[in-house]
């Protein structure tokens, strides 16, 4: 199980071996929607890192200190999505007041993040793997780092694919899927690093 590994391996497992986009298939809408521009991918990647680390810590606390003692585990889905939505709103307000430069860079991606399933998935998976608080923090860092890495690599590849001669039926989205398939194949190679 993941909760028996040390922190470095938890990070590597989330970052490369079980890459959230290419191996776990989570948050693919933003992966295909934004990756036609390198700048947008970088913005989204950083925004995801920023939000995911905070939201999965807060969701972890909500689950262990609020839902578990009150035996309300069945409200998990509703509670997490509301926590995340309000946290994103809150972060947006703080950022606008405290750091206008960062707000200008990440601002337009923040509202989109509420429906980015990677954020919710990281919160669920941290609970499902029964991680403690510190492990959960490292895990969410690894997951969001892996998201960043994959979307940046993919955006770089797509800029090259755009200028390549592609058969008419495959232009646009289909060739992007096939590119993703080859990237996924490359990431599958990390499976040999260690078990799980």
């Amino acid at each position: 199980m993941l909760n028996q590994l040390n922190l470095g391996l938890i990070f590597l497992s989330a970052f490369l071996v079980n890459n959230i986009l290419l191996i776990k298939f989570i948050a693919l809408c933003s992966f295909f929607g934004l990756s036609n521009s390198l700048a947008a991918s970088l913005g989204m990647g950083l925004a995801v890192m920023f939000v995911m680390v905070m939201s999965s810590s807060v969701s972890w606390a909500v689950y262990h200190y609020l839902l578990l003692p009150l035996h309300l585990e069945y409200l998990r889905t509703t509670a997490f999505i509301l926590t995340i939505a309000s946290l994103v709103q809150f972060e947006e307000i703080i950022l606008r007041k405290k750091s206008p430069a960062l707000y200008r860079a990440l601002g337009i991606y923040l509202p989109l993040i509420t429906t980015n399933c990677a954020i919710l998935a990281a919160a669920f998976l941290g609970i499902d793997y029964q991680l403690n608080f510190l492990q959960n923090l490292v895990y969410s860092l690894g997951v969001s780092g892996g998201y960043c890495l994959a979307i940046l690599l993919f955006a770089g590849l797509r800029e090259r694919v755009d200028s390549a001669p592609v058969p008419p039926s495959f232009q646009g989205v289909p060739i992007a899927f096939i590119t993703a398939s080859l990237m996924s194949l490359a990431f599958l190679g990390f499976k040999g690093l260690f078990k799980l």
Partner: protein
């Protein structure tokens, strides 16, 4: 004037506005679950149920929801139906629930469900919204099962309980691994583009 009952809202979801092949929504469960035909069928049914329930409630209460808070209201309605599905499956089909894993609760943030709530159920009457939900749900189920048939058939030599090619078949393993999912969907969309393009040219 709008017709009270519009059968087109059902048929649009199947092909012309197929949520997956045309609108590129709801890709996560589609790619992750489609390595097994049985699980895909389960996912399709669970997904259609959530869409059906949330479209029903949202179109029924649409006149009383102020537009400023509509998104949180929609999300709570959807989350309720997802929780119902989650616990029903845990009680009656625990194996399916284990195979679907995190993708079952993730239906909450599935773009198709929220998208249909916002684009259709919030503007149309109950009956049409139900037709829309059935069309979209069926469109999704068809694509995911089709993908599963291709992936499981080639990658494992089986379709559910059926064995396809006999004992000596060497499975095309890559098909049930993650890269196969991207590959099959890429080819399916290319096929749809090709068919749609041919029809336009005629």
């Amino acid at each position: 004037m709008k017709k009270l009952v519009n059968w087109q809202s059902f048929s649009d979801g199947l092909w012309k506005e197929n949520p997956v092949l045309t609108l590129m929504l709801g890709l996560c469960p589609l790619l992750a679950i489609s390595s097994s035909v049985t699980d895909s069928l389960g996912m399709g049914v669970a997904f259609t149920f959530v869409l059906f329930g949330s479209n029903l409630i949202i179109s029924a209460i649409r006149r009383w929801v102020p537009s400023q808070v509509r998104i949180p209201v929609f999300i709570v309605v959807i989350a309720t139906f997802v929780t119902i599905t989650d616990y029903t499956l845990a009680a009656f089909l625990p194996e399916l629930k284990r195979n679907l894993g995190v993708f079952l609760p993730l239906i909450v943030v599935n773009c198709i469900v929220l998208g249909r709530a916002e684009a259709f159920a919030a503007r149309n009457n109950v009956f049409n919204s139900l037709l829309d939900a059935l069309g979209m749900g069926l469109g999704f189920t068809l694509v995911i099962v089709l993908m599963a048939i291709i992936r499981e058939g080639l990658g494992n030599g089986t379709i559910g309980p059926l064995t396809l090619f006999g004992k000596n078949y060497k499975p095309f393993l890559i098909m049930i691994l993650p890269p196969g999912a991207f590959l099959v969907l890429g080819f399916l969309i290319a096929l749809k583009n090709n068919l749609a393009g041919r029809r336009n040219r005629c």
